[in-house]
Structure formats: structure tokens, C-alpha cells
Symmetry: C3
Subunit: 474 residues, 3 copies
Amino acid sequence: MALKALLLLSLLVISAGLALAKQDPELHQCKHQCKHQRQFDEQQKEECERSCEEYIREKKERERGQHERRRGEGNSREEEEEETQREENPYVFEDKHFEDRVRTEEGRVQVLEKFTKRSKLLRGIENYRVAILEANPHTFIAPAHFDAELVLFVAMGRATITMVREEKRESFNVEHGDIVRVPAGTPVYMINRDENEKLCIVKILQPVSVPGHFEAFHGAGGEDPESFYRAFSWEVLEAALKVRRDQLEKIFGEQRKGSIVKASRQQIRAMSQHEEGPPRIWPFGGESSGGPVNLFHKHPSQSNQFGRLYEAHPDDHKQLQDLDLMVSFANITKGAMSGPYYNSRATKICVVIEGEGFFEMACPHLSSSGSYQKVSGRLRRGVVFVAPAGHPVAVIASQNNNLQVLCFEVNAHGNFRFPLAGKGNIVNEFEREAKELAFNLPSREVERIFKNQEQEFFLPGPTKQQEERGRAFE
Amino acid sequence: MALKALLLLSLLVISAGLALAKQDPELHQCKHQCKHQRQFDEQQKEECERSCEEYIREKKERERGQHERRRGEGNSREEEEEETQREENPYVFEDKHFEDRVRTEEGRVQVLEKFTKRSKLLRGIENYRVAILEANPHTFIAPAHFDAELVLFVAMGRATITMVREEKRESFNVEHGDIVRVPAGTPVYMINRDENEKLCIVKILQPVSVPGHFEAFHGAGGEDPESFYRAFSWEVLEAALKVRRDQLEKIFGEQRKGSIVKASRQQIRAMSQHEEGPPRIWPFGGESSGGPVNLFHKHPSQSNQFGRLYEAHPDDHKQLQDLDLMVSFANITKGAMSGPYYNSRATKICVVIEGEGFFEMACPHLSSSGSYQKVSGRLRRGVVFVAPAGHPVAVIASQNNNLQVLCFEVNAHGNFRFPLAGKGNIVNEFEREAKELAFNLPSREVERIFKNQEQEFFLPGPTKQQEERGRAFE
Amino acid sequence: MALKALLLLSLLVISAGLALAKQDPELHQCKHQCKHQRQFDEQQKEECERSCEEYIREKKERERGQHERRRGEGNSREEEEEETQREENPYVFEDKHFEDRVRTEEGRVQVLEKFTKRSKLLRGIENYRVAILEANPHTFIAPAHFDAELVLFVAMGRATITMVREEKRESFNVEHGDIVRVPAGTPVYMINRDENEKLCIVKILQPVSVPGHFEAFHGAGGEDPESFYRAFSWEVLEAALKVRRDQLEKIFGEQRKGSIVKASRQQIRAMSQHEEGPPRIWPFGGESSGGPVNLFHKHPSQSNQFGRLYEAHPDDHKQLQDLDLMVSFANITKGAMSGPYYNSRATKICVVIEGEGFFEMACPHLSSSGSYQKVSGRLRRGVVFVAPAGHPVAVIASQNNNLQVLCFEVNAHGNFRFPLAGKGNIVNEFEREAKELAFNLPSREVERIFKNQEQEFFLPGPTKQQEERGRAFE
């Protein structure tokens, strides 16, 4: 069954991971030499070892470039998959690439490493960061502002989000599918107002102070979350707030439970009834005032039995306009797929919300000139992958569950999606003579291939093949 | 007295500087090893020593990140101050961080080092440079253009500034408080038209040719300032100007006194009567045509007995619009302070024009995750400090003099100032429940702290404390 | 004769090249030491040698900065020329700085190295790349899209360019002087529709995916050009296109001749009659719809017996607007020159299309503070040179042929050209007193020099001098 094929793939991924951990023999040798340099002191040895790692990493990148791909001739798909996985793939991010910024008994905030940490190929999106917040039912997420522009997507649960704007406060009750723009520096706090369901919010951040880096600034708080008020000297604080030091020590000393804490039923009830923003009936109110937009209340831009695509475009939503950011959500029916296609200008940063599957992408930058490196990766909840502008990509759902993918599309203005299969695919648009010359075949034969699939964007996936391959491993 | 406290602080700053100069023992050891590597030639030794410096610098930055701050518990403010000063603080720039670009008998131009020279934390303002021009009474500052957008602020004195625009010339008589935009590449020259007072002009530059670097291009001139005409071959110059070589040698050989020279009373009189731009009655004329704006002729945006704030916003002044730059000037009454507050989007680059005092700022980027590094610095004339977006900051004037601070606020569009104390402070805006949960205290107690101070932006400073501490050192 | 002078200059350039190839003795010694480090393995030796190269390169850059220029006093122009050439000049690019991306029997595509490869001084244009396409008569250039914004200039020949836009196709018959904008990601193919003339197209590209890097993505194609479809697994392709694997292997296996191939007369005829875009009568049709603009159908912005300048400005042509790019073409009469002048904001990237000559430029960034490095270079077909904003530059045609130079001017909005000789030169615009003070000479003498040349922009060149110097080497 397909399930077994997927299991096998997971194993391959894991063993590839182990191989990396076990360390390259050259790396081992290089580090060994560092350790035995008599003229080096401890710091220099450390420095030397770091250079080894850098060197080996770069060497591998070079090798990957020169590597003759053995694609197509006799290799089974599994072998290919393994090969790709063994190589470092800078476009896929898993659990280990996230770091906990907040972790309390009641929830956590994980931040994805900088996109450029592993490869310079993602320099174009260096100033975007992804974070995921999870909070237990009936919890309070402490007030903070960020030195970053922020867009939130409610991936699960029901929250009340409160922002302090210029001299007023706005609260919004939000739910699954809501997109909320939080301008840089805006103090924001929220509650999970649901009694049973976890809250999960995916964030994209665009730093405004240190490119590629952002921080949370907690004003309210005490020892944990530490309040930034405590960075001021007592003298300055006493004067600023016009209170005595003992009072200050008290107020900035009590909170020690972290920035996600349990809230009482009464507190939750009160705060979820404070919705004070403009009316939320889209496309009026909330929309025009910069309040939340619900992606699922919009008409899907693509829809058939194989999937559904929802898009919030910066040209339509002023909240997204200055960030030039599109937010999209694809629900790919189990066994189906989206694409292959490519974005003309926008780079997609995608987060798997639910389900399993995999994606495939063609990348010339990872490869030697004139050929395309196959990039692929297993998808499951929480995996992040990036599809840069121009790169052909297909996303395939498993046989078992729908695959739900949230994407932030950076550089969205003027972007167009070019289909590579199905209705309107680019090859079909070529003239007869161009088809002949490009493929060195009669145009009739070219059209027989490229006009066969009549679906658009969401297509039936490679079901039969998967099933057969699944059986082979039973 | 407070004066003594300030003197003490100065001493601490100086001794911290000496400590740096005296060199870190590890650095010494590392360099020593470089010198005794037999296999290295002189160049390699040099290179090696440079690596040592780099290495130690980075190590210190790491250590600072992990450093457990001992703030609050038993440490006196002086100890804290010292601690902060001893660590490198990338947000404060003093005399030693300026370099003379021009120095003649009659004046000089000092340029501040690149903001990123000491730390990558200021990468967001890497393409801004600060320079200060000082010229004696009745002097002429030679014509030049710059490969940078330029905004001038007349901090002291009276000048006539002349720009060559497309086929015409514009002259403006300017004085204290005038802001002048000089578009990139515009030939500009000026005079100090005052017979007695020095001229002091603070410049912010945004390079357009080499990011982070700018140069002056002197056309007119001879050997000093060297004319760029001399970089062309004589043959090309002879043809271009249609004159003989001996004439060229003469015209480009006479000026040897540098780019700031004495002018005669007659020359000054003639040039200061040439004002040829549109009328200077703000908000007409000068304003709409891109001419100077006087900051002090505007209504202050904040004003009380503790200080006054003047602001020229890019939304109101087209000269500042394409640079997205706000210019502000705070005159903080002696013994008072501004803030604490933070900017939501804009990063402030501030130059102390007059007076003494200090600032305090909370920085999570310098610190380990989840806490805030206290950054502080002594302020006196000529000191430059940076407050990045989102960073809470307070500026405190000494007991003796008003503190006058000129700030260039980069990334100003959509910026909002969030007060952290006094009227409209963000904590006051939270709901009752949010206050309870954030501080883990009854909301009444939170309000007792945050509603006490009724002033706005400019507040009475930590007078009493300073006086007491001053006495302690008598 | 002048021809001999030019030949001599070429020789100097070549010998300078050899000197570089023969290697610096320090570099040799440094590498030697790397090779004999017993504790280094092969990789570390390689790494070490690379560091040597880096080190020597940087050392030379430093030296160049401190180098006392011996300009003007007794040095003949040849000696100066040689001196400049021997030093590395980051502003000139020749054959060796191009790399073949495509090379078939019928044509090739050459891509210029990144501007920042040799020097960080060109960081401001790091995200622009230049490429040149050449194709034999009656050829087909295979469909591809690029992860870059693209502007094409038809430098020679007649083509039909076809782009696939959102669900439609547009074809344009273009000829010498046509500028075509190809938005990022747009599939584009073309033919050389001329039976006899070669096609030569100069491209400027602005990458949208990886800053400073772009790639061609061939969809149609087989083994050469490899199709990106082949990077997908057969299973995904079978499902996407709804066809069997054997059919896929066939269609993606036939094309092996590369991406520039011969086309039959019938194919050419058919494709050149498909012009399907809006009517091409400028300034209607083509223009307003984003179609091609012919530079030579515009009124020249400068014109006299010494040359003619054509300009397409982003403010007038929406195709160039979002790129903030001006395209200009200067035809400098033989023996004449353009400039000296400088651009206030725009940096010029120029490609010599036809003819010979040289340019001279003043650069303070290459030099020690306060003086100007003379930059110069021999110009002939295919040479690329860069004139950054603010840098005075003059371009001189040889005695034998008109010099034709195509320039892409980046950062064009608000740019103004300031003449340094002839009509409207900046020195003439100074007040009488400013002239006196700047040159330390009576203003009458200054005016005698700067008012002599009455021509504008295109001026007679240094003819006589060249001829005389030419004779000296006979």
C-alpha cells in the first residue's frame, strides 16, 4: 500500500539525517588536525574546527553542482528520492530547523532559522522569518511588540487578538482562516478563547530594525517574561512613572510563569466580549479598516474535485499591500496534486498545516549550468518549504489525507502563475513551428502530450503508481 | 553635586577606553603566536594578527550575549553604568569614531564611521552616513557634489548655500534650525556669512553609488582641493574645454589652501545678497519648491515645561519624502527627560547639539534570548547615538543645561511613537484582565503605577536621585 | 597615425594581462608555503592557496589607494594609460569576463560576470546582469523563462520575439534599435528572421529569485536544452500530463541540438507573420501595451555634428518604469567625444556596439581620500564599462569609426546629467565670487577657460594630439 511507500521514504530521510550526524570522514580528519596543532591555543582550535565545517559544507555544495544526475535511466523513484534527500536541500525545513523562543507549561513559540542559514540561495527572502505559536485552551499570550512587520494566520482554534493602536485599542475575535496584520511595533496580546481546542497561529515576520532578525519586546511582565522596563535604571523608572522603587520592584517582580499562562473562565469571557474593532462583515468593516480577513470566506480562485485554492492578494487587501505579500491556502484532495506550475515573480514560503505528501521542484541554481537539480521533500504537519520565483513545482497529497498548505507569497505584485500541465499550460501556447523546433518532433506529437490533461491547477495525483510501488514492498 | 556624578561617569568611560587600548590578554597571546609562526611571512603574520582581533571581537560579542546581567539586586547605578560602558556598545559614537575628511586652517569636515563597522546590528541603517561641517566666520566652503543624497541641518551660525540645479542656480540664506535638501549629484557651495559666529552644519547622507560609502567630487579647485578635472588626460581636457595645456595647468594649479578658505567682507556681502531661490516665507515658497524649511518656525509637536519637540515629517515636506526621513529636534529642559518610549518603525540617528546628559535603552538583540541588555551612554556635544525601531529609550538632561538633540529618523512613513510612561502609555491601554494576567497582580495595583505620571513625552527627570548620588561623591 | 597609437595601447593591455597571468612573486611565495605545510591535507592546501590570492588582491587594492599618482608632470599619455591598465580596473569588462551559457553551432549566449566579482565598489548594481545573445541567420532560439526581469535591445539584425502572457501569446517583429521588456518568468522564444544577417541582442537582467544570479528555465526541450520537466519524477509527470512514460521519454528525449537551432525558410516565414501583438506604430499600440519601443524612431535628445544621443526614459515608457531603468544609445562621430559630464543619480552600464575609442573617468573611491583615481579603458565592440553616479566621465571615439555605445542607466528617476565642459557646464553656473574663491584666480580667467567651448555634450575630440602622438610611433 501507499502507506508503506511513505514509511519507507521516512526511513530514508531519517537515515540520511543520521549520516549527516555521524559526520563526514573528511570533516573528521580536518577537525582532528585542528585539535593537534601544537601552536594553536584552545580558541584557535575552536576557530579552526569551525573553518573545517565551513570548508566541507562549501565543498559539498560545489560537488553537488558538478554531480552528474543519474535521473531517468533505470533508477527507481526510491533511489532518486534517497539521493536527493542525502544531499542537503536548502528548500525544506523540519522540526530541527525550528528553535523554541517561548516555552511554558501552557504553550510555546517556535521560530524557524534564518532562510539563509544553510544556503545563500535564499538571500532573496533573507528578511522574512516564520514562527509558529501554539497555546492550550483558555490561555493568555502576554502583551509584546516586535521590531518586525507581522502577518498572522489562524491555523487552528479561536482567539481574541488585541492591538494597541495610536491611543486606542482594537480587539478581534478570530478563528480558523483569519489573516491579521500587526504593524511593526504594535503592542499585541491574545487569548485562546476556546475551552477545548488548542490555538495554532502561523506568523510571517519582516524585520524592520536588524535585517533578518526580530525580537519580542515585553513591556508588561516581571521576571518571566522579563519586562523591558527592567533594563532602565531604577532612578529613571522612578522619575518616569512617578512612583517609589519598592512599588516598581513589586510590579516588575510578580510575573514568573512565562509569556503564555492559564486564564480563568471569567477572564476569557470578559476579554472575548471586548471586540472593539469595526464590524467584521467582510468585505466591509474589518477589511477596509485593516482588520482581519477570513481566507475561507472568499471565493476560491481554483476549485475542482482535486482541490481548492484560496488567495488573499495585496492588490485587494490593504493590510498586505505595503508588504507586497499574498497569503494563499491550498487544500489538496487526498491522492491529488497541485501543479506542476511556477510563479513568475513571487517566492512561496509554505507551511504544511495538515496531512501528508511530498513536493517536487526543479532548481537550476543547485545544479551545474544548463541542467536542473531535482529537489523534493516529504511533507507533514509543520514542515516548511520554499519555492522560489521561476522554479517549477508540484505538491502531491498522500492517499490517506487531504494535504493543507498555507503559503506566504513574497513579491506578489505583478505575479502570475504559469501552469506546466493541464489547461492553459505554457507549451500549448506555443505556435506550431515553435513546438516542432523546441521538441524536434512533429507538432502533432507534442500536442498529443500537452493537450491530454484537461483539469486546471489541481490534478489527479500519481495514484496508481504509488499503489503499485506500495505493493512491491509488502 | 550632579556635576561630580557626571565627572565620575566620564572617568569611567575613559578608563573603559584605556582598558580596550591596553589590550585583552587573549588578544595579546593570539597575536604573539602569529608573530612566532616560522612558516608565515610578514604578510601572513599581519593577516594572522588581524584574524586575532576579529576573533576576540566576536568572542566578546558572544560572551556579552550569554552574560548574566546582575541588574537590580544590590548593584548601584554606577556599577551598572561601568559594566555597560566596559562592554562595547555599538549604539554610541564619540569623537574617536569620527574621521577628518577635510581639515584646513578655516574649518573641517568630520565623517562618522560606517554604522556597521563595530556591529552588524546596525545593518538596517548601513546606507546612512553622518558628517559634521564646521567653518570659521567669513569663510567659503568650496563647490562639490556628492554621490549621495544629502540633508543638511544648520546647527549653529548663518550660511548662504548655493546649489546648481538644471541650468540655473539657487541660493538660500539659512540660519539655525534650517533643513536643506541637496539632491544627489547637485553641485553645492556655501559661505559662513557671519562675521563672528562659527558655522556648524550636521549632514545625513544616503549614498547612491557605493552602498555605505560616499565621496565629495570637487570640480573647481586645484591641488587642494584637488579638482577631478585633473583625473582626465591633458589631451581630453584640451579638447573638451578648447584651451591650451598651459592655461589648464594654471587654472588647476592655483588653489592650494584646501576646500574651506577665508573670504573677504566684499565677497561675503555679494554672495549673501544673491539669494535667488523662491521666497522663503514658510509654508509657501521655499517649502513647496524644495527649498529650506526652518524646524523652529513650526509648531512644536510636544511642548511643556520639561521640553519641546519640533518635527519635520516626510509626509509634510516633499524634500524629505523620497528619503522617507523625518528630522526632529528635542530641547529637553535641564533636569528633565524625554521618554521612555519607542518608535514603531523608524530608527533614530541622533546628534547631541548642546548640553549634557545620558540615555538608557533596552536591547534584546545584544542579549541572550528573552532578556534585555541595558544600553546607556553619556551625552555631550557631538556624541551620536542610535535608537533602533522597537527599542525602548529615554534621554535624560543634566541638571546644568538643557540637552538639545537633533535626530534623523529613517523609515519614518507610518511610524508611531508609543509612550511607555506618562499620558497614553501602552500599559494603560490594556484591558483590566490583560493587566492582571500580564503582571500577575490585581489590575488596581497596575493602574496605580501606570496612571500616576500625567505628563506627556517630556517628564521631570530623576533629579533627586542624581543630587543625592552627586553628594555621595563629594 | 592614430591607428598605430591604438595598436600600441592594445599591446600594453595585453602585456598587462600577461603580467597578471605570470603571477606576482609574493603570491607565488605564499602559495608555495601553502603547498609545503606538512600539517595540511590537500583540501587545506587548496583553501590556503585561495587565501593567498584573496590576500594579494586585497593588498593590491590597499596599495592602489595609497599610490601617489604621478599624473600630469611629464608623463606621456601612454605611460599613464599603461599605469592605469596595469592596475586592476573594476569598471571595465572584456571578453575574458564573459562566460558562455549557451554555445551551439548556430549561436551563443554570453553572460558577464557579476559586477561585484572583482570589487565591492559595484555593490550598488550587484543585482543587475548583462548578457549578449548572438544567433546565425534563420535560427530558432528555444523557449525559456528566466527568474529575472529582462530588457532586450536589438543591436543587430531582425528578429521575431514571442512571449506567452497570461493565457495569450504575443509576437513582435523587431529590428535594430528595438527595446523589448520581458517580465520575469515570461516564457519567451525568438527567431532570427533574416536570411543573411546575424542577430545580436544585448540583455540586462534583474534577478528576482537569487540576488545577483539568474537562470534560464527551458520547459520545451529534451536532452539539450534539458527540459525542467525532466527534474520531476516519471510518476508525477505521468499523472500531470495524463500520458504514459514511454511517451514522455520520447518527447523529452528528441531535442539534442541545443537551444539555438537552424529553422527552415517555411518555419521562419510562418513565425514572422504571426505578429499578434497590438499595432507597432509608436507611440501608440506597442508602446502603451508594453510592446517594443524603437529607440531610433525617437527624437534624439542631443544632436550635433559630433554625435547623436537617443534616450528611452522610464518616465515616458511604462515598460521601463518599475525597473527605474533608462536605455540610451550614443553614436559618437569619429574623432569626437561625449562629455566630460556626470550623472547625478544614475549609474551607467554601457556596452560598446560598434567602433573603437576609449573612456576616461575620475574615481575617488579607488583612491586615497581627497584625490581622484584616473580610470580609463580601451573601447571596442563587446567591451562593457560602468560609470557610477557622480563620477565624471568622457567617452572618446577613434579617428577611424563612429563609436556606438548602448547604455542601461540604473536608478534613472530624478537623474540629471551635469556637463563639465561646453554649454551649461557647472563651473559657468557659479557666481563670480565663487569662481574666484574656488580657483584662487580672478573670475575673468576662470571664465576664459570655461566659456570657450560652445558645443553641448558631444564635442570635438582630442584629434590633433592623437595624430601627433600617432606619428611619434611610426
